[in-house]
């Protein structure tokens, strides 16, 4: 009897121990094809050609944190699972991590942000020029680069981000088009052309120099095809991206005419209209179709009577100056150019069999709001999560989202299975504590 009890106890204990061991070893498994094949593409040496967006520029500056999460860098990490090699970027050193300097959100009171420049640990070697970077570079994104200026040798002297990467003898001589060649790449991304329209738009539709010209449509098509032909000259596969609509970014949808009018009415209930000077020199009451640039909110001009007896922007005799406003005719013009550029990009990509990341279509979706893994993302300034404090460039979260737009387009075109980026691991705007 006693023996039997011991025996049963032994059996029960053994059952429990066996159960525990069994449980610890039996994890649920989920099979996935992600990360198993490069399809018909070869990612062993990927180069990224583009402008500020490609470089990781954010919050009005190029700095190390932004460089590390630039969408090509996020893509390259994931390409590593399907034969991708190392991916080099012209990172600033840790000691100069703040690079060109950038804007930081230091206060948010009643929804009004205070943006403060970060001025420590910068990477300037003199007043205007950045510390040189030597060595191999695969993230070839240059803030301010345009399709037209990619072919201009002197721009390498004027643009500190390209100047930084060029040997002294090539500065002012070697164009970006030449700079990106001879890199024996097997795969490329090309997201360029934004500034050919945006330079003009962010200057309120006023052209003062080569960086704010609206590039001629046929010139754009020709030069863009030169770029693509060069990048695919060895039969390399790649992806090109369309240019977003300028009204899809916070830079043009934050300081609205209605918001200004409400602010004016709070002080003077009789305020009836906001007055602007258009691109043709006409002065008229502004409508919701006229877009005012983001920096106007901190320019200290609105309602000011320091240079006129009439409050700035609130009287026909002291309208908001042309350079602050992309009036509705200018908006229509920029939109028309962007559509034309995009048609050139897409037809060229189709004829070359390249993948297309349609960021134009995607950012128009973001404008109305999307939800990814419980994160609401839209194109609102600060709270939208995708755009950084300059209202044009992406946050780390925005870069992750765009990286997936590229990855999905690449996978769809080439039958590859590059895994997607986990968007939840990347931040939006940092809020002050």
């Amino acid at each position: 009897m006693v023996g039997e009890i011991t025996m049963k106890k032994y059996i029960l204990n053994s059952l429990l121990v066996a159960s525990v061991l069994f449980v610890a070893s039996c994890k649920p498994e989920i099979e996935s094809p992600a990360g198993t094949t490069a399809g018909s593409a070869n990612f062993s040496k990927y180069i990224a050609v583009g402008n500020s967006l490609t470089s990781g520029f954010a919050d009005g500056g190029l700095y190390l944190e932004g460089q590390k999460v630039a969408y090509p860098n996020l893509m390259a990490e994931k390409m590593a699972t399907v034969g991708g090699g190392s991916f080099t970027s012209p990172f600033f050193t840790d000691a100069q991590a703040n690079g060109s300097g950038y804007l930081s959100l230091t206060a948010l009171v009643n929804g009004v942000p205070t943006l403060t420049p970060v001025t420590t640990n910068l990477a300037y070697r003199d007043a205007t020029r950045l510390a040189k970077y030597t060595g191999e570079v695969q993230n070839l994104g240059i803030p301010g680069m345009r399709v037209d200026l990619a072919f201009a040798g002197p721009f390498g002297a004027a643009n500190p981000y390209l100047e930084r990467l060029l040997p002294d003898a090539q500065v002012g001589v070697t164009s970006y088009f030449q700079f990106i060649q001879g890199r024996s790449h097997t795969f490329f991304s090309l997201w360029l052309g934004n500034n050919d329209a945006l330079g003009y738009a962010t200057n309120g539709g006023v052209t003062t120099d080569a960086t704010n010209v609206l590039t001629d449509k046929s010139t754009f098509a020709l030069l863009y095809s030169n770029l693509v032909n060069s990048l695919s000259a060895g039969g390399q596969k790649g992806i090109v991206a369309t240019i977003p609509d300028v009204t899809a970014i916070p830079y043009f949808n934050t300081v609205t005419v209605a918001a200004l009018l409400n602010a004016a009415k709070a002080i003077n209930p009789a305020a009836a209209a906001i007055y602007i000077q258009t691109g043709t020199g006409t002065v008229r009451a502004a409508t919701s179709e006229d877009l005012i640039r983001l920096p106007f909110q901190s320019a200290g001009l609105f309602g000011s009577t320091t240079s006129s007896p009439y409050p700035y922007g609130l009287h026909p005799l002291n309208p908001i100056a042309n350079n602050w406003v992309l009036d509705k005719d200018e908006v229509a013009k920029v939109k028309d150019y962007v559509i034309s550029y995009n048609n050139s990009i897409k037809s060229l990509a189709d004829s070359k069999g390249l993948a297309i990341a349609d960021t134009y279509a995607y950012l128009n979706q973001v404008k109305t709001g999307i939800i990814i893994n419980g994160i609401g993302i839209n194109s609102a300034f600060i709270t939208g999560g995708a755009f950084s404090l300059d209202g044009v460039h992406l946050t780390p979260r925005g870069n992750a989202v765009i990286a997936n737009v590229f990855i999905n387009a690449i996978n769809a075109k080439y039958g590859s299975t590059i895994p997607v980026v986990d968007v939840t691991q990347y931040r939006g705007v940092k809020f002050p504590n």
Binding site: K8, L16, C26, S32, I375, A380, T383, N433
Partner: protein, 407 residues
């Protein structure tokens, strides 16, 4: 304008109930039979399974048992090669029963304290679904005093009143970032109560095939004044005030069960239960915050559950006078429709496998053990509200043990 857009951050669902929260562990003998047994007057657990059968129990008894439960869930985002697993946390469903009545009388009293619903999942603070949920600890404890009466020698009815004590702690990340880059977080913590009933009929036919019809009512559990604690950067504090509270309702569904007990031999009985779980009451989930701000609105999230059901077949074999062996299989249909699966209860149709054994040391003292396993089928879908897109796969393991004293 900024505040209007901020409200989007919080307009998402907080929690969800599912088959995944229905805990089918209410008596070691029945657990060993996959949860079947409403038509068997097996033991004092009939207080839960069928109050109508309680009066047919031969002895008075008291028992206590527990089933440490491991809910192992995994998630993989669509087009990702990363599988994320919940942390190993052990939930503790338990059951206490007492049955008493004068010998050879027509009635018996019973008391049951058990945990028919609950959930314990902890995905960690930094997984890909953290903005939907990081962790949930939900417990519902039912207290059920019961009266069971023999109408004839072969028919018994019984009913019990149910009081539910509910306890919930839910945490998730908020997609706003501190200066160091980490995300904000909300913790909702509260207790609540609800009421219901449990009734059943037990019929023993002349062929000794037994039948059962039982109904456990819905229990709407109200949580009042739970704490809603937001960990956000100070610049957003006015939007997420400190010391906030919330009210919510947790609808626990009614279950109607038809059971059959078939004696295969003197020592072997087969039990089959078919249950209809009336989840349709769970149409939406609403949270009412005591303090609303332009960024923190009350929420009402569609759930649109349909009714679920389960089919369980178990066998009880009295191997010797002292030793009983049990086994069971089952299948349960999920009430959660595509588009509504969440990490709180990553539900899908599931298979149930179980085994058990009982040993009577004396005529008064008995030990029962069981092992319960559920294979929740893998399910790939995109949640309509959070956009969380991927595949869930869950395995549930629960060993159990109970002690019984009879007189």
């Amino acid at each position: 304008m900024k505040k209007i857009l901020l409200s989007a951050l919080l307009s998402f669902p907080i929690w969800v109930m599912a088959q995944g929260f229905q805990v089918n562990l209410q008596g070691q003998k029945q657990i060993g039979m996959a949860g079947a047994g409403s038509a068997l007057a097996l033991d004092e657990a009939s207080v839960f399974f069928n109050p109508g059968a309680v009066t047919f129990l031969e002895k008075n008894s008291i028992s206590a048992g527990g089933n440490p439960l491991l809910f192992k869930s995994a998630f993989q985002q669509a087009n990702s090669n990363v599988t994320e697993n919940v942390k190993n946390k052990i939930a503790t469903p338990f059951e206490l029963y007492a049955v008493w009545g004068p010998k050879s009388n027509k009635w018996k009293l019973g008391l049951g304290v058990y945990t028919p619903f609950g959930g314990l999942v902890d995905w960690g603070d930094n997984w890909s679904g953290k903005y939907a949920l990081t962790s949930l600890n939900l417990k519902a404890i039912y207290f059920q005093p019961t009266l069971s009466i023999k109408i004839t020698d072969r028919i018994g009815i019984g009913a019990g009143f149910v009081y539910n004590y509910g306890d919930v702690n839910l945490q998730r990340a908020i997609p706003v970032n501190f200066p160091d880059g980490r995300s904000g977080k909300v913790t909702l913590d509260g207790t609540g109560k609800g009421y219901g009933w449990n009734a059943g009929i037990y019929i023993n036919t002349l062929s000794n095939i037994t039948f059962a019809i039982t109904h456990k009512s819905k229990v709407i559990t109200k949580l009042d004044g739970g704490s809603a604690e937001f960990d956000v950067p100070n610049s957003l504090r006015t939007s997420f005030p400190a010391g906030n509270t919330f009210n919510a309702e947790l609808p626990l569904p009614a279950t109607t069960t038809l059971g059959i007990g078939i004696p295969l031999s003197k020592s072997t009985k087969l039990a089959f239960d078919a249950s209809w779980v009336q989840w349709h009451i769970y149409q939406d989930l609403s949270f009412d915050y005591a303090t609303n701000t332009s960024a923190l609105a009350d929420t009402k999230s569609a759930r649109n559950y349909r009714d679920g059901s389960s089919f369980k077949l178990g066998i009880n074999h009295q191997a010797t006078e002292k030793l009983a062996l049990r086994a069971g299989v089952g299948y349960a249909l999920s009430p959660v429709q595509d588009g509504y699966v969440t990490p709180e209860a990553p539900d899908a149709n599931r298979y149930i496998l179980s085994a058990g054994a009982g040993y009577a040391f004396t005529s008064k003292f008995e030990v029962n053990a069981s092992f319960f396993f559920e294979d929740v089928q893998s399910r790939t879908q995109k949640n309509i509200e959070t956009g969380l897109n991927g595949t869930f796969k869950t395995l549930v393991y629960a060993p159990g043990l109970s002690l019984t004293y009879k007189w």
